[in-house]
Amino acid sequence: MALSEQEILAGLGEIVDEIAGVPADEVTPEKSFVDDLDIDSLSMVEIAVAAQDKFGVEIPDDQLKDLKTVQDVINYVHKNAS
């Protein structure tokens, strides 16, 4: 069963809160991980691994570098989740 965008957003908010300490309600679709949420590249790796586990998607490194905003991740998960 495919996850809705709302469900992906909520799940992503939990991950970002846990790993980077950014409150989940600040994790909104238009935000950039680096510029708006102040998340560095090492934490981004951790977030990507947690997202892979949570949503059951593979995020190869060459895809990860293009996931700049929260919406980018939502779109990627929505499209690739099994």
């Binding site: 790993i19 980077a20 300490g21 090492l42 951790e46 691994v49």
Partner: protein, 415 residues
């Protein structure tokens, strides 16, 4: 002894130890002769021969916060907690970032993070390793983190010499200021190694006390019944500052960090030199470097770890380095209360030595019931007022020695 422009003074101190989460609680517990050693009741310890340790009184993860704690090894958390205390105690000095340095180290580094990452590697694969693992395991991680927190740009250093590391970091910091590279340096040492691998590895060297039934009585430097050291954890930190910089801002000065002396035994990787030659040299060089004479020394915070071999050799080396003046000197081992903090030891014990100088009282060596033969210095199971019979200004020594044959001695003088 007066101060000149490149004299170095101590203007702030911090500590988190098995006795307390700050300098005040640690020092008052030392004067009260309290032990911070406890039984390890966790499952992972049950098959070890040594199941006691000086566990930190305050969990550093709760202070640094959940997210920061995920990215910092426990030894780095201790270092940052103690550095923040020292920095606040110094009055958070305003200093040109290019003139602010860090000299903070660990004997082992982030061994807990190394072990945890290896478990993940074996069980889940490399992709699941915490991406902060490398900065968590490197022994210079604490120096880097503190330099980032303070924006220090004069240089961040982490001299490693096993259990002498913390004292060596203090000595290096003194040199950074004396040589003109920095005006203010945060210096100290940290360790967080209470885990099965380390307890097993020290136990297999026959270095640990096996007095599991009496944890608080296990660390007993110079006592005839001593049977090894007790592992402890925590950090000690100080803010060192050029006398000129401290005077310009009207800072409180605890002591003059007058100098340090170093030697290497060149003898054996784990056994001390049988005549304590290296230890004596380090103390003599420290006095010479500090411009202090033996008749000024009132107290030595000794390395004495409660091992059968090292304690007596150090006592004899103190006697030999200070000569007749050794008779006035009260020698203490605060490891009797904290256990052995490895890379944190020299820093915590330098803090204790400075407090002893400030309050004019030597902390006790607890569990000292029957002093061993050959301990030809004054040791005491009670706190003792420092003998004012020596030449002023009064001075104290802190010794720290490490596997590898590293010997460091640091001298602090009353301001």
């Amino acid at each position: 002894m007066g101060t000149n422009d490149r004299s170095v003074v101590v203007t702030g101190m911090g500590a988190t130890t098995p006795l307390g989460g700050d300098v005040a609680s640690t020092w008052s517990a030392m004067l009260a002769g309290r032990s911070g050693v406890k039984a390890l009741t966790e499952d992972w310890a049950k098959d070890l021969p040594a199941r006691i340790a000086g566990v930190a009184a305050v969990d550093p993860a709760e202070i640094v916060g959940r997210v920061q704690a995920r990215r910092m090894d426990r030894c780095e958390q201790f270092a940052v907690v103690a550095a923040r205390e020292a920095w606040a105690d110094a009055g958070a000095p305003e200093v040109d970032p290019e003139r602010l340095g860090v000299s903070v180290t660990s004997g082992i580094g982030g061994i807990g993070s190394t072990l945890a990452a290896y478990d993940v590697l074996k069980e889940k694969g490399w992709q699941r390793i915490n991406p902060f693992t490398v900065p968590m395991l490197m022994p210079n991680g604490s120096a880097g983190l503190i330099s980032i927190e303070l924006g220090a740009q004069a240089g961040a250093h982490a001299p490693v010499s096993a259990c002498a590391s913390g004292a060596e970091a203090v000595g290096y910091a003194i040199d950074m200021i004396k040589s003109g590279r920095a005006d203010v340096v945060v210096a100290g040492g940290t360790e967080a190694a209470i885990m099965a691998l380390n307890l097993g590895a020290f136990a297999v060297m026959r270095a640990l006390s096996l007095r599991n039934d009496e944890p608080e009585r296990a660390s007993r430097p110079w006592d005839k019944g001593r049977d090894g050291f007790v592992l402890g954890e925590g950090a000690g930190m100080m803010v060192l500052e050029s006398a000129e910089h401290a005077a310009a801002r009207g800072a409180n000065v605890y002591a003059i960090a007058a100098g340090a002396g170093y030697s290497s035994d060149g003898h054996h990787i784990a056994h001390p030199h049988p005549e304590g030659a290296g230890v004596r040299l380090a103390m003599q060089r420290a006095l010479a470097n500090a411009g202090v004479s033996a008749d000024q020394i009132a107290h030595v915070n000794a390395h004495a770890t409660s091992t059968p071999e090292g304690d007596v050799l150090e006592a004899q080396a103190i006697r030999s380095a200070l000569g007749e003046d050794a008779e006035r000197v009260i020698v203490s081992s605060t490891k009797s209360m904290t256990g052995h903090l490895l890379g944190g030891a020299g820093a915590v014990e330098s803090v204790a030595a400075i407090m002893a100088l400030k309050d004019r009282v030597a902390p006790p060596t607890i569990n000292l019931e029957v002093p061993d033969d050959g301990v030809e210095v004054t040791v005491s199971s009670e706190p003792r007022p420092l003998n004012a019979g020596g030449r002023e200004p009064m001075a104290v020594l802190n010794n720290a020695f490490g596997f590898g044959g590293h010997n460091v001695s640091v001298v602090f003088v009353a301001p």
